[in-house]
């Protein structure tokens, strides 16, 4: 399941000269700097005054960082006047349930597929996993028609269920791989002690599967938070429900030259994923590796 990762610092540089080691170090630093510059420019600019941003490149502040006027006014304006606060709350409203619901449904289903006997078990599991192939685009036209008929367009329930439906095949696949490998004797002794499947599931399987649940939770959280397509189609751009990505996209359309708003706005959309990502990086990497490679 998981890859054995050797954590040796600086793999043996046997046979490498000082020159080639320096060259490697320079290459690594160069790529790392190149990769960070675009985000750094955005972050620095978001704290500069509108006039400064419009009249000089952000890199000029690096020469005299203490003579620059730093300000939080861009954030105040974009949060209050441009609806980013509401959009931020809407993103939370959409993302948290749209993460918990599919994990819950997938964990119950994965447990049943792994540990219960019922007709059609193998066929249904193969069908669910097979649907991993389907690109999202393949479902949009009929689903939007159905949503309009059912009055689900523009509702939070509608988008929770949509993200749940789209996320389920991967969730069931990943959780099945984990739950099916739990030790049989633990679950059997629970059954002998009179625990029903439901008790065994909530008291044993959920706690034991926490690493897999956490890994998928981070995936799904980032996916939903960062999604634009599903949000645009099923939720729309009405300020009551619009999420951050949709709001930021509108800001690009209406205030495309006002970089003091765009930089601050973009950072507002990024801050939660960055925090989640940096604090839970270990689970995320484990999820990436267990989901896609075998060591």
């Amino acid at each position: 399941m998981t890859v054995e990762v050797r954590h040796e610092t600086a793999a043996p540089a046997v046979g490498m000269s000082l020159a080639s080691r320096t060259l490697i170090r320079v290459a690594v630093v160069t790529i790392a700097v190149l990769w960070s510059l675009p985000t750094a420019g955005l972050l620095i600019s978001s704290f500069r005054t509108p006039n400064d941003i419009a009249t000089s490149g952000w890199w000029t502040v690096l020469r005299h960082p203490f003579e620059t006027t730093w300000t939080l006014a861009n954030y105040q304006e974009v949060l209050a006047a441009n609806g980013m606060f509401d959009a931020f709350m809407n993103s939370l409203i959409v993302t948290i349930p749209a993460t918990v619901i599919p994990i819950t449904l997938a964990a119950f289903a994965a447990y049943a597929f792994a540990w219960m006997e019922f007709p059609g078990r193998r066929l249904l599991f193969a069908l669910v996993v097979g649907l991993l192939v389907v690109p999202l685009q393949m479902t949009l036209v009929p689903l939007l028609q159905a949503y309009n008929d059912l009055g689900l367009t523009g509702t939070f329930l509608g988008i929770w269920l949509a993200h749940t439906g789209f996320g389920l095949p991967l969730a069931i696949y990943l959780l099945y791989n984990f739950i099916a490998q739990l030790p049989r004797d633990i679950l059997e002794s629970a059954a002998i002690d009179g625990a029903s499947h439901f008790t065994a599931f909530t008291r044993l399987v959920i706690p034991l599967s926490l690493p897999a649940l956490a890994a998928f939770a981070i995936f799904q959280f980032l996916w939903v938070w960062n999604d634009l397509l599903v949000a645009l189609i099923f939720l729309g751009t009405d300020s009551q429900v619009a999420v951050l990505t949709a709001r930021l996209n509108e800001l690009v359309g209406s205030r495309g030259q006002d970089w003091y708003l765009l930089t601050a706005g973009a950072f507002v959309t990024m801050v939660v994923p960055l925090v989640v990502f940096l604090s839970l990086q270990r689970f995320f990497v484990r999820g990436l590796l267990s989901g896609s490679v075998k060591g």
Binding site: E4, A32, I93, L127, P135, M138, V141, T155
Partner: protein, 387 residues
């Protein structure tokens, strides 16, 4: 558990559990109704204050209304409680009901209580729509022949198809090659984890966010004006004319592909780095003893050992790029010959309401994904995953 021998108690238990399930559904329905109601948060807070007898704040809300930010926060709390609590409440209630069905029915019903909700949603959101889309592509907007003929003959469509090919070729190879190079190099420096974080970080950024970040990097102003975009600032510092990156064909498509490479390289790097570290140390040492140089080791020991991971990474990124939408949508909107299939599909569906054409475009994407998934599954089988 219904261990009692008296049927009356069992039936009462069954009835109670059914009532519990019905009550759960009713409460959730009321909560969802509140989310749709604009005055919902205000009435909820007002009701709460009245209930605890705080007449002062209640009066204030009646006169001035609830602060919009407070109202939004109340909505968020209710929504999260309803959404997260709701799914658990429903499962618990359904299982309590199942407990009371008696051992024979319980065994029959329980698997469907566990799998039913997931299967129903997968059927509603993936299985049926997929079949419907194929049908729609063959029946609406002039039918099968007209829709697919449009996809493969319309001038703008041909540009979109060509662009998708460019994206797939350069986006995939760019991400995988830079990821591989960085994974190989970073294995030999100190503070490896720190260096990796810089490459990895964009993975958490949305494509919309990335589009804004790079729109700023590529930002163009007419010659003579102060350039505030990083690249044009650099070009003017070097004495060149500024370049309008999003308007110049065919440069603009490549400028957009760079954004995707910037986002995806971290994924390639992490997976490949783990694979490189899993190459047995003894194999590397044996090659060194045989007098192989570092480049030779890379080519004939490391690359063959990580072949499986390379295929996985390549196919995953390939599929992500095939469906690329947000980057184009936010930056150029598909203008200046930068359109791609997924963006074109969105336009046909939302703006032009050509459901038949949009469906035909979706089918094209599905058909393109299938061979890639076959390669991926075969590769995973060979590595022994999912068997």
């Amino acid at each position: 558990m219904a261990t009692t021998s008296r049927p009356a108690t069992a039936i009462r238990g069954l009835f109670g559990a059914a009532l519990g399930l019905a009550a759960t559904v009713a409460i959730l329905w009321a909560g969802l109704g509140m989310l749709r109601d604009e005055d919902g948060p205000e009435r909820l807070v007002l009701g709460f204050y009245t209930l605890v007898g705080a007449s002062g704040p209640a009066e204030a809300i009646r006169t001035y209304g609830l602060h919009p930010m407070a109202a939004k926060t109340v909505t968020a709390v209710v929504a999260i409680v309803v959404g997260v609590g709701g799914v658990w409440a429903l499962f618990t209630a359904a299982n309590l009901l199942t407990d009371r069905l008696g051992p024979r029915f319980e065994r029959l019903v329980r698997p469907w209580v566990f799998t039913g909700p997931a299967l129903a949603l997968v059927a509603f959101y993936l299985l049926f729509p997929t079949l419907r889309t194929i049908l729609i592509s063959a029946t609406e907007d002039g039918g099968l022949v007209a829709n697919y003929a449009f996809v493969f003959t319309d001038r703008d469509m041909l540009i979109a198809l060509r662009n998708n090919a460019l994206w797939l070729i350069f986006g995939t190879s760019g991400s995988v090659l830079i990821g591989l190079a960085f994974a190989t190099l970073v294995d030999r420096v100190r503070r490896e984890a720190l260096a990796k974080t810089f490459i990895f970080l964009p993975l958490s950024i949305s494509m919309v966010g990335a589009a804004v970040i790079w729109r700023f990097v590529y930002y163009w102003r007419p010659p003579g004006e102060e350039q505030i975009g990083l690249l044009n600032g650099l070009l003017s510092a070097l004495g060149y004319e500024p370049v309008a990156f999003f308007q110049s064909v065919p440069l603009n498509t490549f400028a957009l592909i760079v954004i995707m490479v910037w986002l995806q390289t971290g994924f390639a790097m992490v997976v490949l780095s783990a694979a490189i570290k899993a190459v047995p140390q003894t194999m590397l040492e044996a090659a060194r003893i045989d007098g192989a140089g570092e480049l030779q080791i890379f080519r004939s020991v490391i690359i063959p050992s990580i072949r499986g991971s390379l295929i996985t990474v390549g196919t995953t990124i390939f599929i992500a790029i095939l469906k690329v939408f947000d980057i184009v949508f936010v930056t150029t909107g598909g203008k200046f010959q930068t359109d791609v299939v997924a963006n074109r599909m969105f336009k046909e569906m939302i703006r032009f309401r050509n459901d038949g054409r949009a469906s035909a475009l979706a089918v094209i994407l599905l058909v393109a994904v299938i061979p890639i998934m076959v390669v991926n599954v075969r590769n995973l089988r060979r590595q022994g995953v999912g068997s």
